[in-house]
Symmetry: C2
Amino acid sequence: MTTEGEPLTKRDFEALARFRFGIRSYLRFSEETVRGHGLTPQQYQLLLALKGFPDRDWASVRELADRLQLRHNSVVELVNRAQGEGLVTRAAHPTDARAVRVLLTKLGEKVLAQLSTLHRDELRRMGSALTPPV
Amino acid sequence: MTTEGEPLTKRDFEALARFRFGIRSYLRFSEETVRGHGLTPQQYQLLLALKGFPDRDWASVRELADRLQLRHNSVVELVNRAQGEGLVTRAAHPTDARAVRVLLTKLGEKVLAQLSTLHRDELRRMGSALTPPV
DNA sequence: CGACTTTGTATCGTGATACGATATGAGGGC
DNA sequence: GCCCTCATATCGTATCACGATACAAAGTCG
C-alpha cells in the first residue's frame, strides 16, 4: 500500500474496490439468509446489537442508534417493526424513566442464534476476502 | 471463536456485533465523506468499481452488477444518475454490440482520487476494528 | 440461413426505510 | 420551581433497489 499522502496507484484502487466488494458480498449473503428466515437485514442487526452488547443483553434506543449508526428516530421505527413481529420487547429502564430497555424475546433469541451461526460460518468461508487492505 | 456447529457464546455474539459495528462505522464515514463531495455512496462505489476493475479501467453494466452486488436494472439507473452528474460516460463495447462500456470522465477520475485517499486513510485509522472475527 | 434461446440494456411502477422537523415528557443544575 | 438538556416518539418526504416487462443483438442448431 502507498504511504501517506502519495497518490494512489492502480493497484491501490483495485485493493480498495476488492475490499468494498467483500463487504457487499458479505452483506448480500446476510440479506438473503436473513430474509429467508423472515426478517429484514436491519432487524437482524438490531437483534445482534442487543445480544452482542458488551456485558449486557439489552440496550436503550440511544445506545442502539450508536451501535447501528442510525438516527434515534430511525431506531424507534426499527424497534416498532421488530416488536410488531415479536422479535423484541420494550421494558422500563432500571434507572432512567426517560429511557427504554429494548430486549430480545424468546423468538428473537432463537432466530438470532440460528442466523448468527450461519453468519459465523460464512465469515470463515470468506476468509481473507474481507480483510481490509492497509 | 467457537468451533463448527457448537452454539455461540456471549463472546461470539459480541465479536459478530463488533464486526458489524465496524462495517457500519466505515460505511457511515464513507457516506458522510462522499456526500460532502456532492455524490451519493452508490456513485462512489460505482466510480471505485470502474477504476478498481482488474486490468481495465471500465466495465459493462453486467460486470458492474456483479461487483456492486446489485441487479442489472439497478446499475442502469445508477449509471444514469452518475452520467447526469458528469461522473461517467457510456461508450460502445469493443466486441459486443449489445453491451455498453461504462467509463470515468475527467471529473469522475478527479473526485474518485480525492475520495479514495480519504478512504484509505480512514481504513488505516480504523485498524483492527474492521478485521473479521474468525 | 431462418427460428429459437440466451444475453445485455433499458423503462416503469412499487415498496421499504432512513431521515429532518417536530412534539412530549422526564432528568438535573442552580 | 425554572430552565435547559436528553430520550423517546410521530409524521411527511425522498431516495433507491427491486420485480416485471420490453427490445435488440448474439449465439445455436436444424
